[in-house]
Amino acid sequence: MVLTPILISLKTASVAILFTFVIGTALAYAVNRSASERLKAALDAVLTLPLVLPPTVAGFFLLYLFGVHRPLGVLLGAIGVKLVFSWPATVLAAVVIALPLMYRSARAAFDQVDPIYLQAARTIGLPESKIAMKILFPLAAPGLTSGGILSFSRGLGEFGATAMIAGNIAGVSRTMPLAIYSAVAGGRMEDAYEYVLILVIVSFLFVWSISIFSETRAGRYRLKERG
């Protein structure tokens, strides 16, 4: 078994989650604060699309935007960056595919914070930025964390969009899911077993940690039931 796909996958998922977490949380915060319910519904729909569309469709759009002869591709090319079929493209694919999970988790996390705390904060003069940092984000932390873990795990398992825009270049953009595909296509089932086992175990541990984590967090501000 070659170890590089494992390292590439972990590197991709780790870098991708930084972008996914910040962008997803920021988008959810902005949409939560927008006054218009209609705008909220529209943005919710658009930002959820990558979750329901086949990843190949997302990959198609990414190629359409970042292809060497496409607008953003030309722009990047002008500063000497060739994105498609490179390692950064695996990050781009993972971010785009995992973003809806982060966005929806953060939206739900902000929604379940009782608005009375935000109102109270306003009536004691706290600026909105301070309300967000000191009250909204801490109270939404359990939901944001589980959203982050879900998004990381999704990034780790990303296949379709990655294949479209990053290709399947050994040592560059061949992540574990792509290595499994290649191994099976090449008839090397033993290699595939090992990658599959590693992916299943790692993903299970992360997703399992969500429930452990949210249990301890939820208990933090709550006393044990007393009769």
């Binding site: 009375i116 705390y117 109270a120 306003r122 009536t123 004691i124 003069g125 706290l126 000191k134 501000y221």
Partner: protein, 348 residues
């Protein structure tokens, strides 16, 4: 220097149209049933809701003016708001809850008056709880912590939104006394919103009675309870017996709902279309306005008896009589009402 409110706000099946003023340093109560618009009014003053039109002025500062397109953010209003559930930040200790409310600039407030957080903790008897989280506090401690947080902010006006309605009776009475004690050190105006006439009576010097989004009466609390003027106000201040009346003489009238002719001992004016009798005011002895009764139902409270009866031969409608525990209600054959206890009321 005081608060002046004159606002209108429309909802689908409810409209609010309310105007009132406070005198400097005064405690004013907005009394009304749920849905009367009292909480909406309070939230409009704090800037948590926006009225459709009108004007709110605090100590000469315009907080809201639809004509001049002024609508200050809640943060800029310097108005303290005590929420029913206290709304202490659950992720902060008592000390952190108070610290965060300190204004960076020195404001023209009248609450803490340059007190440190430790001073406030001492004043509110929370020194030992300073490093505890809100969930670890009792209801009373939570209320004191919420007040300390408001005082740290030094607001020019204090708004109390149904501060006791979530509590059981025993706790409520203790906390009312506690709140009155704590508010003594506060020099600004206070507006209390409540549906409890007892609470309004105990805490507020002046009263605005709201019904269906409109003020129906306004004045000194004691005077309003003594003479509520309108039938609506009488009902909201807790008068259980109200009947339309027909004038029969200079001072006498016939109460149509009760089938009783009574003497008010003073002139019944044409505007007086209703009469009210508080359930506590009936007497067993008395020569004026005496009438036979038929007792229909008795509900025993811990300290009194609530009696439902009909007057005369039982042909009229039911009336409430509340009497002390020892009274032999079943044997009572007649009741009387002193003329000065009859409320003569207008329709609106």
């Amino acid at each position: 220097m005081s608060l002046s409110v004159d606002i209108r706000k429309r909802y689908k099946n409810f409209s609010l149209e309310v105007a009132f003023e406070t005198a400097p340093g005064e405690t004013l109560a907005l009394l009304g049933a749920s849905g009367s618009g009292k909480s909406v009014t309070l939230k409009c003053v704090a800037g948590l809701l926006t009225p459709d039109e009108g004007r709110i002025v605090l100590n000469g500062r315009v907080l809201f003016d639809s004509a001049a397109r002024v609508n200050l953010r809640p943060q800029a209003r310097h108005v303290g708001y005590l929420f029913q559930s206290y709304a202490l930040f659950p992720n902060m200790t008592v000390r952190q809850n108070i610290e965060i409310a300190r204004r960076a600039e020195t404001g023209g407030g009248s609450g803490a008056g340059g007190q440190t957080t430790d001073d406030l903790l001492r004043r509110m008897e929370l020194t030992e709880q300073a490093d505890q989280y809100p969930v670890q506090l009792s209801g009373g401690q939570q209320q004191r912590a919420a007040l300390a947080r408001i005082y740290a902010y030094e607001p020019e006006l204090l708004l109390l939104d149904e501060p006791f309605s979530a509590l059981d009776t025993y706790l409520r009475e203790n906390m009312q006394a506690e709140l009155l004690r704590e508010m003594r050190g506060y020099a600004g105006d206070v507006v209390l919103v409540t549906h409890s006439r007892d609470e309004a009576y105990k805490i507020a010097r002046r009263l605005v009675i709201l019904d269906a989004g409109r003020p129906v009466a306004c004045g000194e609390t004691a005077a309003l309870f003594h003479d509520p003027v309108t039938a609506q106000a009488a009902r909201i201040t807790g008068c259980k017996n109200i009947s339309p009346i027909r004038k029969t003489g200079d001072t006498t009238f016939f109460a149509e709902a009760w089938g009783l002719e009574l003497d008010a001992g003073r002139e019944v004016l044409p505007a007086h279309t209703y009469a009210g009798i508080r359930a506590h005011d009936f007497g067993l002895k008395g020569s004026m306005n005496s009438f036979p009764i038929v007792v229909e139902d008795v509900m025993e409270g811990p300290f009194d008896k609530n009696v439902l009866f009909r007057a005369g031969d039982g042909g009229g409608g039911r009336l409430w009589w509340i009497t002390d525990k020892g009274a032999d209600v079943r044997e009572a054959a007649a009741l009387s009402i002193a003329p000065e206890h009859i409320l003569l009321l207008q329709e609106k």
